[in-house]
Symmetry: C2
Subunit: 432 residues, 2 copies
């Protein structure tokens, strides 16, 4: 398998996340990429205890990485816009592809950087710059390529969404939640970029350019923060059937493109209004597809690394062009991996039984479940209807293997006190 | 700009949608693709009044299209698995790339088709085969390439989700809603594929193979439909804090991969539980990224066409390999497109004013708004607090241009009966 050499610049949160995911999932990533993706050179001012870089070529000067003739793809994760810009431009000048998670760099200097890259025939990839782990750049640029984008609206700053969520769910005040967000590490010591909408405006700048083909123009984004939102506003909005979300909106009208970041009342039944906490979501409305939404973590070491590595794999395909995406995503499949028979699946269950309304029925049912190692989580028992001597009994169980449940259901249906078939519906928490 | 010749086989719902979007958005698609994508040949048993194919080369035999030496990409939209399979295999044998929306074809014969394509060095693309317009194949195969997929769970049959939504929201019976779905054209005359989960199992087969690198194996999917779900179950689930969704689930455990389609209780606060009507959504949990979700229309002429065309553009890049995705998605940008100043943006508004509690105040406020052509949508007026002679007044307005609102707010703040600043938050319906 052809080797592709990666140079990582910056070993902070995202840098160490990228290092860790690349090394942990090395085998799966290589099977999908059809490439042996190797970290060849790391530039970091200091060691990061979260990354075990022993045995790696580590330079204290990040510019050593972009000057290393072995490195084919430079991953810029140092942040900021001054050194990062010099670094990226030098990498391009040296004929290297670049992957970056730096939203400010792209929003402010992207036009210049892309021009340099196109002149040199290299690629600058930046999926991680918008909405962390959500592959929304790819969706917008490739997945929705057929569409005129009518509008897009995104929750693209997790800190702001966390604050607004806490204000609504717990009735807390803005400054109180902000202090907690800072303690939890969601917000920087200087929270201006988050709460004044600057971070969201960087991301919206990028999304709008991709949606409409206009140059990056951060300075044209109308930007309003959430610092003036009061608990009263949150409650009145609720009374009116709305929730307040801090949105980045890009919209194509008759006369031009709108780009704006501001607190927004959104009808509470919209899915976007129900995106809570630090999570991000971008709703894109295309003329052909209609509404589509992309949801997930907008920040975090490994979530952001997920997008950085997706870019690395995309760019690695360009290092040797005759190498499209494999049909099912893997160059080498996992043919040996077995599919579990349903009997071996473990899940929890909703059961509905119609039972005779007499003493001891519940005990017999509980015994059958208990004998099959099935624990009950919740019970609903309804009053019998007049002139009816049977009642519905609803059970929610804890997790158990399907074959045990099959056996228990057979036994339950054998009871004279259980009328007809037992209704069984599986339950999934889907919480991680 | 280099031309790429497309042959479309089948001019039914999706075929005519693809024809219409390709011709309507021709200019934008070409600017993004860097290719002049032209329909060269259409194969259709009969004319479709929804597509104006006058002037196009139309054959009554679809095999004429795959034998046309001009055609570079064959778009298979005839459906079914017998003729479609022969057609796709012959296109591959003739060295043509293939784009298809045919989930049954891929789920049942994909292994054979991909093998033939790889042997011949062509690509078979099938984004539209899963979840219509949602670019979930691309997200899973490329966007999440760094991740071990812990599990995925999807609402991947719109008809089933429509039925379950109506049962919950309106208390209707299964058969009643099914009849309506058939009338609305959501469900086929024979609804078995939808309500028995076969359609969802086709799609889950494809998603699971991409997530885990296992061969396509439709026959291994546990499949249970929604025909046995009663109104009682829907209501008991609600009492327990759950909603019933028909999910396709793929999960990686210690011992193998689970693939199952069945009705499932999902906690009501999950975003997936709030995906209603005919819409689809796929929640994917990766080890690096955490939970991400992809939402949108799972069917429909133009939504499906959106994915078909995305595939055409992806494949068109392979026709001449030295042609990556442009940085901001456009080869030729829209530099002339102006960004609208905020003053010209039209939206609706939430206003909060603190006003003196006296006769005539409301009339003066209403007059100021009316003079600025601002219509009131809703009002909340609170009782004054004891020992306070001012009250909060909350207004929701209809849509108006920002500069009119700016002027009205200035005038309102000039009123002696209005205390302090007016709080203004913009309102967006985000409904299309």
């Amino acid at each position: 398998m052809k080797r592709v050499n990666i140079g990582i610049c910056g070993l902070g949160t995202v840098g160490s996340g990228t290092f860790n995911v690349l090394t942990r999932n090395q085998e799966t990533i290589s099977r999908r990429a059809g490439r042996d993706i190797q970290i060849t050179h790391i530039g970091a001012r200091r060691d990061n205890p979260a990354s075990h870089t022993a045995g790696y070529n580590v330079s204290r000067d990040v510019f050593d990485v972009v000057r290393d003739p072995e490195v084919q793809i430079v991953v810029e994760l140092i942040g900021g816009t001054s050194v990062a810009k010099d670094l990226v431009l030098e990498a391009i000048a040296n004929g290297k592809h670049v992957v970056t998670a730096n939203k400010a760099l792209i929003a402010l200097h992207g036009n210049e950087i892309f021009q340099a890259a196109e002149a040199k025939g290299v690629t600058v990839a930046f999926e991680a710059a918008v909405a962390g782990g959500i592959p929304v750049i790819k969706a917008l640029r490739e997945g929705l390529v057929a569409n005129e984008v009518n509008w897009l609206a995104g929750i693209i700053n997790g800190t702001g969404n966390f604050i607004l969520t806490e204000m609504r769910e717990k009735g807390r005040a803005f400054l109180d939640v902000l202090a907690e967000a800072q303690e939890l590490g969601y917000a920087e010591a200087d929270p201006t970029f988050d709460v004044e909408g600057i971070d969201a405006a960087h991301k919206l700048t990028i999304l709008a350019s991709i949606a409409y083909g206009v140059p990056l123009q951060f300075e044209s984004v109308y930007t309003e923060g959430i610092t003036q939102i009061t608990q009263d506003d949150v409650q009145y909005a609720e009374e009116l059937g709305y929730r307040i979300k801090h949105l980045g909106i890009a919209k194509r009208g008759q006369d031009g493109v709108e780009m704006r970041v501001h607190p927004t009342l959104v009808p509470e039944q919209r899915l976007l209004a129900n995106v809570n906490g630090v999570l991000n979501a971008i709703l894109v409305h295309g003329d052909a597809v209609g509404p589509t939404m992309y949801y997930g973590p907008g920040a975090g070491a490994e979530a952001t690394a997920s997008s950085v590595i997706a870019d690395i794999v995309d760019v690695a395909r360009e290092v040797d062009l005759a190498h499209p995406v494999p049909h099912l995503g893997y160059h080498r499949g996992a043919e040996g991996l077995k599919v579990l028979p349903m009997a071996e699946v473990v899940t929890s269950y909703y059961l509905r039984l119609q039972v005779t309304d007499e003493v001891g029925v519940m005990a017999r049912i509980a015994n059958i479940l208990s004998d099959n190692e099935i624990n009950i989580e919740a019970i609903i028992q309804k009053e019998p209807q007049p002139s009816d001597d049977t009642v519905p009994l609803i059970l929610l169980t804890q997790r158990v293997q399907e074959q045990k449940m099959n056996k228990a259901i057979t036994e339950l249906e054998g009871q004279t006190s259980v009328i007809g078939k037992v209704t069984r519906i599986r339950v999934e928490q889907l919480d991680g």
